[in-house]
C-alpha cells in the first residue's frame, strides 16, 4: 500500500465520522473569527437554542472593518461601529476570547494566529476568511469557510467537508537575487491559473520553499487560495519549530517536548502519491507584478503586457486597467502604494520596505500607506525605529487592520487610480470602486513609491 501525504495524515486523524456517500465530519482544533463573517453565525445558533460547544477553541479579533487611524476613538461610521460592537457583545455572551481594538494582541486574524502561537503544526484550523490558508505554512490543514460553516463549528467544533484531492507544488533550486516569497507565489499562480487548484489541497515543497523564512512561507500559503485551492501547506521543520517556540500560546516544558516529537513525524511518506504534481525551477522566477484583474494575470516586471487573444474576459480586464497590450509595464506612472494585508504586513515585510526607503523620499505623485498586520508588528517596527524611516521617506504608518486590501473601511484607492499593493487580490474595485490594483512584493512596492512609476527594487538592493 502506498504511503500517505502529510495532508492525508492530518485529515484522516481529524475525521470524527467518515462520510459514506458524502462529506466527512472533520474536527476543528482552532477556530478564528472576526466581525464581518461571524454575526449571522452567532444569531444562527441562538435561533436554534444551541450554545457554543467549545468556546475556548475559538479566538476573535476585529480586523476587516476597522479604521487604521485613531483606533482609540469610537468608530465614526455607524454600520462599521455596530458590526464591531456586535462582535464584542457576541464574544462576551458566548465566552469567546476577543482581541478587540486597542488590545495588545489585536491585528489581522492571519497575522495574530501565528505570532501568538495559536497556530501550531498538525492542527486543523478554519476561519470565515479565504486567506486562512496562511496558517498552512506551519503544516496545518487551514482553510476558509462560509458563515454557515462558522455556525457548524460554533455548534459542534466540526464541519462537514468533502476531502479535497492532493497537489504537490515543488520549487527547486535557488531564487535569483531580489526575488522574494511574493514573487514566487505570483509566478506559481500565473502558471497554474486562478482555477487550476480548485478541488485540491496543495503541499508546497522543494529547496526554494524550504529555504524561506516562516513569514515567507506564510506569504506563499496565504495566496494558495488564489489558485482556487482550498489551502496550501508546508511540512514543518526546524524553521517552524524555532518560530513557534516561546510564543505566548505555544506549548511549554514537557508539553513542548511531547508536541515537538509529534510534529517531527509530520512529513509526507516517500512512497505517497499525489493526485497532481507540478514542478518549477526557482531560477526561472523573476520579480513579478500583475497587470490585470485576477491574481493569475502576472508577469515579470521587465515584461510586456500580453496581447489579447480574443478572450472577452481578458479584454474587459485590460480595458478596466487601461493597459495597452504589447507595451512594457516598467515606467508606468502609479498613484498609490499600499503595504499591508495578511499577505505582506509582517515585520520582515516592513523591514524589507525600510531597507529600501531608508535615506530616500517617496515621489511626489505617490500616496504611500503602510498598515502593519498587528499591534505586535506595529510595536516591533517602532522599537526598531522603522517608523522614523517611513516618516522621513514620506510614508504614512497607520494602525493594524485589513485596510485597503479589501477597502471595507475608509482606506480606499480613488476611482481610476493605480495602486501597487502588497495584498492578494487585484479584482475590479477591490481597493475601492474603480480602483486599479497591481500586486507585487513589499520590496517592489517600496521601490515604486520612491520612483513614482513601475520599477523593480534592484538598484536599491546593494
Amino acid at each position: 500500500m502506498a504511503g500517505k501525504t502529510l495532508f492525508d495524515k492530518l485529515w484522516d486523524s481529524h475525521v470524527v465520522r467518515k462520510g459514506e456517500e458524502g462529506p466527512d465530519v472533520l474536527y476543528i482544533d482552532r477556530h478564528l473569527i472576526h466581525e464581518v463573517t461571524s454575526p449571522q453565525a452567532f444569531s444562527g445558533i441562538e435561533k436554534r437554542g444551541v450554545s457554543l460547544f467549545r468556546p475556548k477553541q475559538t479566538i476573535a479579533t476585529a480586523d476587516h472593518n476597522v479604521p487604521t487611524k485613531d483606533q482609540h476613538l469610537p468608530i465614526k461610521e455607524e454600520l462599521s461601529r455596530k458590526q464591531v460592537e456586535a462582535l464584542k457583545a457576541n464574544c462576551e455572551k458566548h465566552g469567546v476570547e476577543l482581541y478587540g481594538l486597542g488590545h495588545k494582541n489585536q491585528g489581522i486574524v492571519h497575522v495574530i494566529g501565528p505570532e501568538l502561537g495559536i497556530t501550531q503544526p498538525g492542527m486543523t484550523m478554519v476561519c470565515g476568511d479565504s486567506h486562512t490558508s496562511t496558517h498552512g505554512a506551519f503544516g496545518t490543514i487551514a482553510f476558509g469557510i462560509g458563515t454557515s460553516e462558522v455556525e457548524q463549528v460554533f455548534a459542534t467544533q466540526c464541519i462537514l467537508q468533502t476531502k479535497p484531492k492532493s497537489m504537490l507544488i515543488e520549487v527547486n533550486g535557488e531564487v535569483k537575487k531580489g526575488v522574494t516569497a511574493k514573487d514566487v507565489i505570483l509566478y506559481i499562480i500565473s502558471k497554474i491559473s486562478t482555477s487550476g487548484g480548485t478541488g485540491y489541497f496543495v503541499e508546497f515543497a522543494g529547496s526554494a520553499i524550504k529555504s524561506l523564512s516562516m513569514e515567507g512561507r506564510m506569504t506563499v500559503c496565504n495566496m494558495s487560495i488564489e489558485l482556487g485551492a482550498r489551502g496550501g501547506m508546508i511540512a514543518p521543520d526546524q524553521t517552524t519549530f524555532d518560530y513557534v517556540q516561546g510564543k505566548e500560546f505555544a506549548p511549554k516544558g514537557e508539553e513542548w517536548a511531547k508536541k515537538l516529537a509529534y510534529w517531527k513525524t509530520l512529513i509526507t511518506d516517500k512512497d505517497a502519491v499525489y493526485d497532481k504534481v507540478v514542478k518549477f525551477e526557482a531560477a526561472d522566477i523573476d520579480t513579478m507584478i500583475t497587470f490585470g484583474t485576477n491574481p493569475a494575470m502576472g508577469i515579470k516586471i521587465s515584461g510586456n503586457v500580453p496581447s489579447i487573444n480574443g478572450d472577452e474576459s481578458f479584454k474587459k480586464s485590460l480595458e478596466y486597467m487601461q493597459m495597452e497590450p504589447n507595451t512594457p509595464l516598467k515606467g508606468k506612472l502609479i498613484d498609490y502604494v499600499f503595504i499591508g494585508s495578511c499577505t505582506n504586513s509582517r515585520i520582515e515585510d516592513l523591514r524589507a520596505v525600510a531597507n529600501i526607503v531608508k535615506g530616500h523620499t517617496k515621489a511626489d505623485n505617490i500616496t504611500a500607506w503602510i498598515v502593519p498586520g498587528s499591534k505586535q508588528v506595529e510595536s516591533q517596527a517602532i522599537e526598531e525605529g522603522l517608523d522614523k524611516i517611513f516618516l522621513a521617506a514620506g510614508f504614512e504608518l497607520r494602525q493594524p487592520g485589513c485596510s485597503a486590501c479589501l477597502a471595507m473601511n475608509e482606506d480606499k484607492v480613488p476611482e481610476g487610480k493605480y495602486c501597487v499593493s502588497t495584498s492578494n487580490r487585484n479584482f475590479e474595485g477591490r481597493q475601492g470602486p474603480g480602483s486599479r490594483t497591481l500586486l507585487a512584493s513589499p520590496a517592489t512596492a517600496a521601490a515604486v513609491a520612491l520612483k513614482g512609476f513601475i520599477t523593480d527594487a534592484t538598484e536599491y538592493l546593494n
Binding site: G22, V36, T37, G44, E149, Q152, T194, G199, K316, E428
Partner: protein, 190 residues
C-alpha cells in the same frame, strides 16, 4: 432552508469568466449583521454607475425575470464571503449554472438552498446561444434547454441532494453526531 426539487425558468446570462465574489457583492456592502437584504447590492458596481444610476447595458437591468443565473467558467472565485450566495439568493435566483465553480462559493450556495449546477463547456455555450428557459430537475440531476431539448446530467453529492430536496442543513446533521464528537475528543492521543 427552503426545499428544492424542480425548476423551470428563464435565464439571466452573464457570459464572463472568473466572476469573483467582490463583483457579486463588494466588501463595502458587507457591514450588515443579518443575512437579509444583500440582493439590493448584487453586482453593485456593474449594475449601477458611480452616481447611482442604473447601468442600462448590464444584464440585470435588461431582463425583468429569471430565477437561473448563468455565469462563465470559475464562477464565485475569491473570498469566502457567504454574503455572495445570500445576495444571489436574496435577489431571487434559485439556481446558478456555470462550467466551473470555485470551491467555497459552491459550498456556501449549497448551504443556502441555492443550487449550483456544473455543466460542460459545450453545454454552457449552448445555453448562452439558445438564451432559452431551462428545466432543472434535482431528483434526476438533469438540466434541459427547453427550446432545443438539449439535455445534460450534473453531479451532486448524494448527501447534499438529500439536504436540498428535504430542506435540511448540515448543522442538523452535525448536532446528531454530538456523542461521536465527544468520543473523538476523549480518545485523542495528541
Amino acid at each position: 432552508m427552503e426545499k428544492f426539487n424542480k425548476l423551470i425558468s428563464s435565464i439571466v446570462p452573464l457570459p464572463l469568466e472568473n466572476v469573483d465574489t467582490d463583483q457579486i457583492i463588494p466588501a463595502r456592502f458587507l457591514k450588515s449583521t443579518s443575512r437579509d437584504g444583500f440582493g439590493e447590492n448584487l453586482f453593485r458596481d456593474w449594475r449601477y454607475t458611480k452616481e447611482g444610476a442604473k447601468n442600462k447595458d448590464f444584464i440585470l437591468n435588461k431582463v425583468s425575470s429569471g430565477e437561473i443565473l448563468v455565469g462563465g467558467k470559475n464562477f464565485g472565485c475569491g473570498s469566502s464571503r457567504e454574503h455572495a450566495a445570500w445576495a444571489i439568493n436574496d435577489y431571487g435566483f434559485k439556481v446558478v449554472v456555470s462550467s466551473f465553480f470555485a470551491d467555497i462559493f459552491k459550498g456556501n450556495a449549497l448551504n443556502n438552498g441555492l443550487l449550483p449546477v456544473q455543466v460542460s463547456d459545450e453545454f454552457l455555450q449552448a445555453i448562452f446561444k439558445a438564451n432559452s428557459p431551462l428545466e432543472v430537475d434535482l431528483e434526476n440531476q438533469s438540466i434541459k434547454i427547453i427550446e432545443t431539448g438539449l439535455q445534460e446530467f450534473f453531479e451532486i453529492s448524494a448527501y447534499k441532494k438529500h439536504c436540498l430536496i428535504n430542506g435540511l442543513d448540515d448543522i442538523d446533521f452535525l448536532l446528531s453526531n454530538k456523542s461521536e464528537i465527544e468520543n473523538f475528543e476523549n480518545n485523542r492521543l495528541i
